[in-house]
């Protein structure tokens, strides 16, 4: 039996890598503008070559992020609607139950941790935070880039609203990534120092059994059925 299980497709790995780079670029060029009073921001702006270039890069990266988000959502919708893929990221009643089970486990009320399927409630939280936060960033970014068009339909006050929302939502996304994502992908004892699965696409059976037992069991069951079908056809 193979030691590793394929967890992420090539498309998913490319998506993660691109969004990671775009996130870094957007964060750097965005916070240089948000915290423009601090010396590091001035240093960053000067190193990049002036505020006009920083803004150009931020907008270009934002435009690419928008394209990636649209492609991702379109593909995800298509795959789920045509039943080519299980809707594994959809939050369900089980996720809330899992969160409570896990909390009881953490507090030592119970000794059984929650048993997760393909994505646990923490991963779903981060994914939906990313998707919804990303949509908010795209919408408010568009409002800030095209205030003339936006104020033909909306009151002028929406522009400073968009500015406050864009700036704070960006900060929130940044904090979630450096605190939550870096912990889960690097510092957590289960994966320390680095969980390479999103880059290699592969995870060990041991990891699957421990972290995603329900999915692992299903994969095993499906493999079993496949083998049985093959042996049935064979004679």
């Amino acid at each position: 039996m193979n030691e590793y299980i394929q967890r992420f497709s090539v498309r998913q790995r490319i998506e993660h890598f691109s969004v990671m780079l775009l996130f870094l670029a957007l964060g750097l060029t965005g916070f240089a503008q948000k915290f423009v009073d601090s010396p590091w921001a001035i240093w960053t702006i000067n190193t990049i070559g002036g505020i006009d270039r920083v803004r150009w890069l931020h907008r270009a990266a934002g435009g690419m992020f928008t394209v990636f988000a649209m492609v991702h959502i379109s593909i995800a919708l298509f795959m789920v609607l045509t039943r080519r893929s299980r809707p594994s990221m959809i939050a369900s009643r089980k996720d809330f139950q899992d969160a409570i089970t896990q909390l009881r486990y953490y507090l030592r009320i119970s000794d059984k941790p929650a048993r997760f399927d393909r994505f646990d409630y923490r991963q779903k939280f981060e994914y939906w935070g990313m998707v919804l936060g990303g949509m908010l960033m795209i919408a408010t970014g568009f409002m800030l880039l095209y205030p003339v068009i936006v104020t033909r339909l909306l009151p002028g006050e929406f522009i400073p609203v968009a500015r406050v929302a864009h700036s704070n939502e960006g900060l929130l996304a940044f904090l979630i990534v450096i605190i939550w994502h870096i912990f889960n992908a690097h510092l957590s004892p289960e994966v320390f120092p680095f969980d390479p699965s999103i880059f290699t696409g592969k995870v060990s059976r041991e990891y699957m059994e421990k972290e995603h037992p329900l999915e692992y069991a299903r994969i095993m069951r499906e493999d079993e059925e496949k083998r049985e079908a093959e042996t049935d056809e064979a004679p």
Partner: protein, 353 residues
């Protein structure tokens, strides 16, 4: 007497002779003011210029005595080329040529002002051969000159002699209204443009300095409290898109860029009006026109995207205030929750060991 001592004596005597030879020959005293006024004190004293214009050579004894220089300077301190009376007639092609021939006299005493003038636009024009560019006497006067800022409104009147249209625009401003009433708090031309080393106000560098110029008074708590004007005007401007862009462009030393709006773009350059006065409706309507100058096609909602120097509050821009408030609660809530989850997770891992 030794040979050596003799050598010394000869050398010493020789040096004495040389230095005596260099000293000016015993000259007669320069003419006194009374000497000059013997002729120039006659009201009909006049001469003909090269262009045929009659030039009065009369100097009024009283008005010179009452001028800033009265009792301090002799005629010959400025008219240094006159060493004896009577003197030969001097020939000038016209009145301007005569002024230009004398304008360097002032630097004998006022050297600091003269060197500053060399950095100004007026001197730059003069150096290019524009004879109409003002020299000292054009602003300060000559024999009857008084202190330049007494009364203070005299300064604006002086500049308006040449800058007629700008002077008329300034006369419509809130600053000019107060100035006319003898208020010394308001700026006159030289407070923004400086007196001698006035820079070209139309350059990018000057445009980017405007907010600092206005802020010089408009961030002064004590001064603004007298008139009930907010001192937040600069910080609210700098925190917004335009102010941030302008201050960054300035620190980058940008020579040419698409200029972002600064104080004068919305409030007017010289005809700065009182925003709370009866004309405030007009100002609001004008604001959109100002916006459209750069933001082509901006509609009537557009100008209210600018929060008008107010910090967002429930009264001004309530939606902005509420969104800000929401994130002030939401960010610590989410981040705090995640940190608790991480700590619980780590704690359980430690317990399991």
């Amino acid at each position: 007497m030794s040979w050596k001592l003799l050598q010394y004596l000869v050398l010493f005597a020789g040096l004495m002779l040389i230095s005596a030879g260099q000293a000016a020959p015993a000259s007669p005293d320069p003419p006194s003011n009374d000497d000059c006024l013997t002729c120039h004190g006659k009201p009909d004293a006049s001469s003909k210029l090269g262009d045929g214009e009659a030039l009065s050579l009369y100097v009024d004894r009283q008005s010179f005595a009452h001028s800033v220089h009265g009792g301090k300077l002799a005629c010959t301190n400025c008219h240094t080329n006159i060493t004896a009376v009577p003197h030969a007639a001097r020939q000038f092609k016209d009145r301007r040529a005569m002024s230009l021939a004398y304008y360097e006299s002032c630097k004998e005493c006022h050297f600091a002002e003269y060197t500053r003038l060399l950095d100004g636009v007026h001197y730059a024009a003069l150096a290019k051969g524009k004879e109409k560019a003002p020299t000292c006497v054009d602003c300060h006067g000559s024999h009857a000159m008084g202190p330049p800022a007494r009364p203070r409104k005299q300064i604006s009147a002086t500049c308006a002699q040449c800058h007629v249209a700008v002077g008329a625009a300034y006369a419509r401003s809130a600053h000019s209204d107060a100035l006319a009433k003898g208020n010394a708090d308001v700026p006159v031309c030289t407070d923004c443009h400086r007196a001698h080393d006035n820079a070209n106000p139309l350059t990018t560098a000057s445009h980017l300095r405007i907010s600092e110029l206005c802020a010089h008074c408009h961030t002064n708590e004590k001064l603004m409290a007298k008139y009930g004007i907010s001192t937040q005007v600069l910080t609210t401007y700098l925190a917004d898109f335009h102010g941030m862009t302008a201050s960054l462009h300035r620190s980058e030393g940008l020579k040419s860029a698409m200029l972002t709006a600064t104080c004068t773009d919305c409030h007017g350059v010289h005809d700065i009006t009182w925003v709370k006065g009866p004309a405030s409706g007009v100002i609001k309507a004008n604001l959109l026109i100002r916006c459209q100058h750069c933001h082509k096609g901006a509609g009537p909602n557009f100008s209210s995207a600018w929060m008008g120097h107010y910090e967002p509050s429930l009264r001004h821009a309530p939606l902005v205030y509420l969104v800000k408030l929401f994130y002030m609660v939401f960010i610590p809530f989410v981040v705090g929750g995640l940190v608790i989850q991480i700590l619980l997770h780590l704690w359980r891992v430690v317990v399991n060991i």
